[in-house]
Amino acid sequence: MAGKTLYDKLWDDHLVKQRDDGSALIYIDRQLLHEVTSPQAFEGLRLAGRKPWRIDANIATPDHNVPTTDRERGVEGIVDPVSRIQVETLDKNCDEFGILEFKIKDQRQGIVHVIGPEQGATLPGMSIVCGDSHTSTHGAFGCLAHGIGTSEVEHVLATQCLVQQKMKNMLVKVNGKLGPGVTGKDVVLAIIGRIGTAGGTGYAIEFGGEAIHDLSMEARMTICNMSIEAGARVGMVSVDDTTIDYVKGRPFSPKGEQWDRAVDYWRTLHSDDDAVFDKVVELEASEIQPQVSWGTSPEMVTGVDGSVPDPDREDDPIKREGIVRALKYMGLQPNQKITDIKLDRVFIGSCTNSRIEDLREAAKVVKGHKVSPTLKQAMVVPGSGLVKAQAEKEGLDKVFIEAGLEWRDPGCSMCLAMNADKLGQGEHCASTSNRNFEGRQGFGGRTHLVSPAMAAAAAIKGHFVDVREMMN
């Protein structure tokens, strides 16, 4: 019999009941909650007279709606009354049901997918869900983690389980070593460019190979975070020393004898040598360039040395139509060089790229330079209050401020522009976020997805530039 994949192992470990109709009940170890996708779930519980099954499995924080300035005023500082009600509703629900919440003024507040790992609330081998598609982030720790809808948030609150169908297994293997200046973000954008935005639909992806295991936990999180942009709800990396070192000593992490037992178990969280995947995709790390997206889907991406595609050279009529539409929305010409795209704003942040390593990489690039006067704004939004404090301890805030970037308070911010941070119509933005959909960062806004280092380089030049030219 063939061995098991990492996903098979995680599935088997969480299987409560296999039903005859092919569906299964899967136990959920951790649920993360935020203000946007939870209010209707709590209301549903209340209407049905149900109580949460296991209160201590849940951790909440407001992130999507929170302002990134004026935070000492707390909830009162949220100018938009509709946003304020949503944050207040989360506070009320957590207070009523006794759920641990890092509220807006708590230093531990931040983006759900930053604070889980930061607190050790994300541990290898866990099943983790959240009403947010970027929950795949936590798969970087060898977790079974994926986004769910609000009805399922309610289902997990009420039963600690989800009804699931098992997915297929895909291995994305990145062989060899990445070149200097090429980051986790470039790897995942290159993968999405290769397999397409629906390439992973129906699959749980395991990212493997030398280049992946050479990466830090921050970079692995960036890669797993964007699995959903390739259509896969689940993205994972197997456990190694890097994983275990990261987890050690965090507030929720096991201690003492429990730690040793946990590590023994975590060491088993990898695909067996003879495991069989339904699909395998291989990339050569040395061929991956710093990436820039030019269109309105994350698969519309190319190397910084490349050009905007020419729809006339696309054979598939549906794809051709998509390119024509994207170029019109983005205000770009066929064959235009990526480095000729002029920018209006730069955003460094989001659950994809707002961790300490991301900020260090960006700071390294801007240090000693000034933001281009042609830009309207360049902002850095750390992923949590603790990331912000760490960055300030290292003096990164000063580097950013001296270069002319704004240093903000933590939250989702301009990744999806639910708060006051957004693009104006027609503005081009170099963004370290995850989605370049039409209107995502603001009505009529034009998003280009890049790594923190590439965003930082673009901020200095006012247009895209190969960050490797600025490194010495």
Binding site: V16, R19, D21, S23, L25, Y27, V36, T37, P39, Q40, E43, A48, R50, W53, R54, H64, D80, V82, I85, Q119, L123, G131, D132, S133, T135, G147, I148, G149, T150, S151, E152, E154, A158, T159, V163, Q165, T197, A198, T201, I228, G231, A232, R233, P251, F252, S253, W259, Y265, S297, I318, K319, G322, L416, A417, R435, F437, E438, G439, R440, F443
Partner: protein, 215 residues
């Protein structure tokens, strides 16, 4: 949940691939703490010429005449015909809520994004996967025939055209069962409460660190 057995309705063609959930319902409308009222903002950025705001009366907003749902022949559509990878992007259940609130009961496409597909079933909305060639044929027939309707039978798992041509589709048994009977799947799961408790107790023994609180 509302049960779904059969449906017959006017078809509207959403002729673009990779329709994402930001497009289906833009983020500013996600600030609502309710499940209802999203219909007027379905496809907001495509449907109106101005930028939509939450809690706004949409009846006086300038409509984009080129957008499919603004055309008289599709205004009462309840079957949405779509292209590849419909519903990609965020997990927001506001997307099916908005489609439902507008009046859609069925969405037909060659493929759907996983989370969106799953969310539809929780809301009495039926997503149907048909082969790309069949979907293409349905697009042509929709364009050529004003008032074009399709009949959908979940019991029989078929989509039938006005000429009587019938296409079968796959749907997994559990989802079909819940939808046919309008079942609350939390109630179904709680029938296995003892099994869940047994699993949990075993986990507390074998992996106690999963139950730690912060220290």
């Amino acid at each position: 949940m509302r049960a779904f057995k059969q449906h017959q309705g006017v078809v509207a063609p959403m002729d673009r691939s990779n329709v994402d959930t930001d497009m289906i319902i833009p983020k500013q409308f996600l600030k609502s703490i309710k499940r209802t009222g999203f219909g007027p903002n379905l496809f907001d950025e495509l449907r109106y010429l101005d930028e939509g705001k939450p809690d706004q009366d949409c009846s006086n907003r300038p409509l984009n005449p080129a957008f499919v749902l603004n055309q008289d022949r599709y205004r009462n559509a309840s079957v949405l015909l779509a292209r590849r990878n419909f519903g990609c992007g965020s997990s927001r259940e506001h997307a099916p809520w908005a489609l439902d609130d507008f009046g859609f009961r069925v969405i037909i496409a060659p493929s759907f994004a996983d989370i969106f597909y799953n969310n539809c079933f929780k809301n009495g909305l039926l997503p149907i996967v048909l082969d790309e060639e069949v979907v293409e044929k349905l697009f042509q027939e929709t364009y050529e025939n004003e008032g074009y309707q399709l009949s959908i039978d979940l019991e029989a798992k078929t989509v039938t055209t006005p000429s009587g041509e019938s296409f079968s589709f796959d749907v997994d048994d559990f989802r079909r069962h819940c939808l046919l009977n309008g079942l609350d799947d939390i109630g179904v799961t709680l029938e296995d409460a003892d099994l869940i408790r047994d699993y949990e107790n075993k986990r507390r023994e074998t992996a106690p660190w999963l139950f730690n609180t912060a220290n």
